[in-house]
Symmetry: C2
Subunit: 390 residues, 2 copies
């Protein structure tokens, strides 16, 4: 196990109706003037926005609001949010929504006290200071509610880049599983896929002897496999929604990823898909991950065999290749069961896009031609992985 | 799943030689005058205390020290520590040792700014304010490095009582697995048992539909079953020590216990053993837990069957009683394998003590005659459980 630090100081408030404590929580963490930042329709239509405003009113906290966050949140709205916060002397950002609203809020929070262009932080510069961010989560997926990560799409070229810093880890996150009950099955499934992907990215390690975190990751994946289909079949299954929501946070606060190298190649390969096709990140991952595993398993057959046996219940008999292939097949079947796409074509892509996708994945944003995850893959490898998605 | 809050803001620094960052960490959390609080012999002999002092010197942080913490830490030394801190204007408590040193440090930290008797906090009063506590852990066991809990033995009657508050959760904890490599196998095994017990106390719940936390707990138990014997057989197996150390923290910071009722009857029943016989808490738990499970399994056979199958690998075939009994037998065999006692006699007890033990367990500290965990047990039940330890 490698040396590490782990610091997860987010205050989680979990359960039914807890969004009504928004005002209390903002006050607890020193906010006096809030930007409520959200996507659109459903947050307004469901009455959630009104309940949040009421809670802030009751706590006598002033606020302004900025809606319009899109999936794969854009740089343009971030600039708008930064300007608004400066003009209105906002000192606290409250994200209401899923990972997109939270990631956009984190970008605004970092940008407000910074003299330069916020995009610097998405081009390698470290975030040292940010306004505090709180979240009211409506989609279990990105894990952004408990992480210091943020991913933004630059509209000038439509490419996605990420950043990470303790400074933008939310000070509180309110997780009410009821709020996820109105999500359409497709979005629910995208979230489930994203959560599984966060776990598998950590599972694919080159660090030996990481038994404790291996068993933690497997446990969370087993929970997703059991609870995921329940939420698809019965969207108002509160218990399934609650299990998925907590697993989604635990999957990405890094408590199960400490002290071990992690992969994240699949996320990089997927980011090109959602940037080009504007598909949901989870849908892109559902297409990417089985293809990636099929391409890289020979790098560490023992680890991939363990994945097949412990996570997917493949009998621990026979040669590695057949056990691992059966594991990947069961993973694909699970993704299909919850309604996820299986091919590039279903995302709107064709073989003709592959050269462009692969080039951007390994050379975009100043990269040097390789992705350095579990396996070091170059442009030709990435083309081969995209071809496996056809 | 029940509504809950979860807040674990401890900054963990994990790995080889990280105790040399003690000064940096104390400074980070605002300490200017430190009480170094520890047990005795090994912390001094190993040179650890000198390394910690050197680190504080380099950070130009003043300190006083108080050693002498015993296993099952005593109220007398807490009073002494409180007096010393007040006299010396100490503003930070640095525990160096295992759960006993940490729990004693927490009691001192709560006592210093309090006008009354610190024991009030161990008799039901809530801790609102305390000096910050940091820890340098030398034993993986109690989980006190990541929890807001503390247990102290009152020397006036030799009974153990606990308290819990966010105010005494450590602000940082340095976890260097190397420091645990010199522990004798017996103490190592006591720690492993304590960690397993913290997990099983959370596993024994009456809250339905807690799949995510069930799988998390099972995963951590599987890691302990795999790594525990390695550390017994080869005390300087760094990787085993590291896996156990992280599991020990995760077992007790409550991330796998949120939103569900928990048991803790076995801890109450054991506390009487370690208070009367001054045995190690882990050794007492090794004797208590299998007896307790054998007594209460009928309360929820499905849960205990799941425990036998998923944690102990019992084939999922046949009637509940035989599957569960096989699970308990494997648990006992594991405890024996790592060198733990199996009976009350091995702890120094006899049948003649049972009436006294049971009476104190259910009536001590103002209790009303029952323990209200997974199963509500009265004095007669507790006697029966103690009899199963003969």
């Amino acid at each position: 196990m490698n040396n590490f630090t782990f610091y997860s100081p987010t205050y989680f408030v979990f359960g039914k109706e807890e969004e009504n404590r928004a005002g209390e929580m903002v006050k607890r963490f020193g906010g006096t003037k809030v930007l409520i930042h959200y996507g659109g329709g459903s947050v307004v239509r469901s009455g959630l926005l009104d309940r949040v405003k009421k809670s802030l009113d009751e706590a006598q906290i002033a606020y302004v609001e900025l809606g319009g966050v899109k999936p794969n949140p854009r740089s343009g709205l971030v600039y708008e949010g930064i300007d608004l916060c400066r003009k209105e002397n906002v000192d606290f950002i409250l994200a209401v929504g899923g990972g997109s609203s939270i990631d956009s809020s984190k970008a605004i929070a970092a940008g407000v006290p910074y003299d330069g262009d916020f995009w610097d932080f998405y081009s390698g510069k470290k975030i040292e200071k940010a306004l505090p961010v709180g979240t009211i989560l409506t989609i279990a997926a990105a894990g952004s509610e408990g992480s210091g990560d943020s991913v933004i799409t630059n509209e000038n070229g439509m490419y996605k880049r990420g950043t990470g810093s303790e400074a933008i880890r939310p000070v509180f996150s309110i997780l009410n599983p009821e709020l996820t009950e109105t999500l359409p099955p497709y979005q629910t499934a995208c979230g489930i896929t994203d959560i599984c992907a966060h776990l598998i990215e950590r599972y694919l390690t080159n660090t030996p002897d990481v038994v404790t975190t291996d068993r933690q990751i497997e446990g969370l994946l087993l929970a997703m496999i059991e609870e995921g289909p329940k939420a698809i079949d019965k969207p108002d299954d509160y218990e399934a929604r609650a299990n998925i929501m907590w697993a989604g946070m635990m999957a990405h606060n890094n408590s199960c990823g400490v002290g071990r190298s992690q992969d994240w190649n699949s996320h990089e390969i997927e980011h090109e898909l959602s940037a080009l096709y504007d598909c949901a990140h989870g849908a892109g991952l559902a297409v990417t991950f089985p293809a990636y595993l099929g391409y890289v398993w020979k790098h560490d057959p023992a680890r991939l065999r363990q994945f097949a046996v412990r996570v997917w219940g493949v009998p621990d008999e026979g040669d590695d290749e057949s056990v691992i292939n059966e594991g990947i097949a069961r993973f694909r079947a699970f993704l299909k069961r919850i309604g996820m796409p299986q091919t590039l074509g279903e995302l709107g892509g064709t073989e003709a896009d592959i050269d462009k996708l692969a080039h951007s994945a390994v050379y975009g944003n100043g990269r040097g031609g390789k992705l350095y995850g579990f396996v070091h893959v170059d442009e030709e490898d990435v083309k081969n992985i995209y071809r496996l998605m056809l």
